[in-house]
């Protein structure tokens, strides 16, 4: 088994992902229960109300999470919600900035400071989270660009997170959805919709079943389903054909690997 050159496998994977990107198969995307609940939870938020958008991800997880952030902001801005965005991951503020520009400004013509604000990054993980729960103003005295909070219109009258309509969290790991559930969701009484990488999705199903999460958007598949609900197919939907072939390849490798293993086991003592 050792002499087998695994670079053939690498080549196979590259082709299986490349081909559907060039020639899309266009397989239909079906919406799962957890993603539908997320969409419905955001839809229930009264139009024009203020919401907290906790963006906790980084470039490495962009392919899964950035489409989710764009789709969620699309739904929020289509309801004229005022979005207060902040990050607990150091590499996230520029990504949030990009999402606000493409959806807020370019698509819905929203104005910075009036309809949305980017509060930038704070370290402290759980400490920052519970501190935001108690008082957003104390935790973020200025926004990402250094402007004091008091002079930002959308922040007027905003202090504890309890006063906001919903908390949408896009989470790549630690700190993320688990810490928001543990430190803020029930302690400060706010509904929590979570979008996360496929890797961490299985761990959050207990929170979804218990109602601590009112919606769970898992991985690129979740993002593609959400894009379908928001009727804005983006990079997630485009990637799903490649995911289909990728997964089929993985299953084939597992089955083949075992067949080879068990047949060769009989020959060698």
């Amino acid at each position: 088994m050792e002499k087998f050159d695994r670079r053939y496998i690498f080549l196979a994977i590259l082709l299986l992902v490349l081909v559907p990107l060039l020639f899309p198969l266009g397989l239909p995307i079906r919406v799962s229960h957890e993603v539908q609940s997320a969409y419905d939870a955001v839809a229930r938020v009264p139009d024009g109300s203020k919401v907290y958008f906790a963006a906790d991800y980084d470039p490495a997880t962009m392919p899964e999470l950035h489409p989710m952030a764009l789709a969620a902001l699309d739904q929020l801005f289509s309801k004229n919600c005022k979005v207060i965005g902040a990050c607990l991951w150091p590499a996230c503020p520029p990504l949030l900035e990009d999402a606000f520009r493409r959806i807020g400004e370019e698509r819905y013509g929203k104005k910075y400071g009036v309809d949305f604000v980017n509060l930038g990054y704070k370290p402290g993980n759980e400490v920052a989270i519970v501190s935001v729960g108690r008082s957003i103003r104390a935790t973020f005295p200025t926004d990402f660009y250094g402007t004091p909070i008091d002079s930002i219109e959308v922040m007027k009258g905003v202090d504890s997170i309890t006063g906001l309509a919903i908390l949408v969290n896009i989470s790549a790991g630690y700190p993320g959805t688990k810490e928001w559930v543990q430190q803020v969701q029930s302690r400060y009484h706010i509904e929590l919709v979570a979008g996360c990488t496929a890797v961490s999705t299985p761990e959050y199903y207990p929170y979804f079943q218990s109602g601590q999460l009112v919606g769970l958007i898992g991985g690129m598949a979740g993002a593609a389903e959400y894009e379908k609900l928001v009727k804005r197919p983006g990079t997630a939907s485009r990637g799903m054909d490649a995911q289909s072939l990728g997964h089929l390849a993985l299953i084939a490798f597992i089955v083949l690997g075992n067949v080879v293993y068990f047949t060769s086991k009989k020959k060698t003592p």
């Binding site: 496998i9 402290g124 199903y205 993985l250 490798f253 293993y261």
Partner: protein
């Protein structure tokens, strides 16, 4: 002095975080908020310390010409450039700092992890062996969930996404909940031992 004061600080800060949860008194809440603001500042300094450490280790690597020392040069250049561009040039959109974040940091970080798609495939072929009942259950659940989550699964059998959803929401959820309860008992007991000073390795070891 060397151990007693840090242990006292740990006990005070730790127990206060607990009191702050149970006592809704405004005075307690104010003190709690202050301590949390202080913690955010100290944690921020610990990041700066971590980076200072990276700079020190790689500086020594170059001065002592140890293994792979030439590669420490681009490391220090990258560090100095981003630090200087960020602090003096600002970090918002349109700055040099933001450019190099989006077009140097992002591609390297994203590509580094995308290598895993290749590694997981070769690992699946070369080391995913179903030798026991347990491994068989794992493989079966993996295959069903993999197919159920992607569009092609529904093409193979239209009930597959529903079966995959059921596995995720019921048996898988129950087992993860058991792990979660076990882990929470571990975390709570460790937190208690740290606050009471029974667990001191973070002092000795550091």
């Amino acid at each position: 002095m060397k151990k007693e004061i840090p242990l006292l600080i740990t006990a005070i800060f730790g127990s206060f975080m607990i009191v702050d949860y149970f006592v809704p008194h405004p005075a307690v809440s104010l003190v709690g908020e202050t301590l949390q603001q202080w913690a955010i500042i100290v944690i921020s300094f610990s990041y700066v310390l971590g980076v200072a450490n990276i700079a020190r280790i790689n500086g020594q690597k170059i001065s002592k010409r140890s293994k792979d020392w030439p590669f420490a040069v681009p490391l220090l250049i990258g560090l100095a450039f981003m630090l200087g561009a960020g602090i003096f040039g600002g970090i918002g959109e349109g700055t040099l700092f933001n450019d190099f974040f989006l077009y140097a940091y992002t591609p390297m970080s994203g590509t580094m992890f995308s290598l895993l798609a290749f590694f997981i495939a070769s690992a699946a072929f070369r080391s995913f062996r179903v030798r026991t009942v347990e491994a068989g259950l794992l493989a079966a659940a993996a295959i069903i969930v993999m197919l159920g989550r992607v569009p092609v699964g529904a093409e193979i059998w239209d009930k597959l996404p529903a079966v995959s959803d059921w596995i995720n929401n019921v048996p898988q959820m129950a087992a993860k909940r058991a792990i979660m309860i076990g882990a929470s008992l571990g975390a709570i007991s460790t937190g208690l031992k740290v606050i009471l000073g029974l667990e001191r390795n973070y002092l000795g070891g550091e």
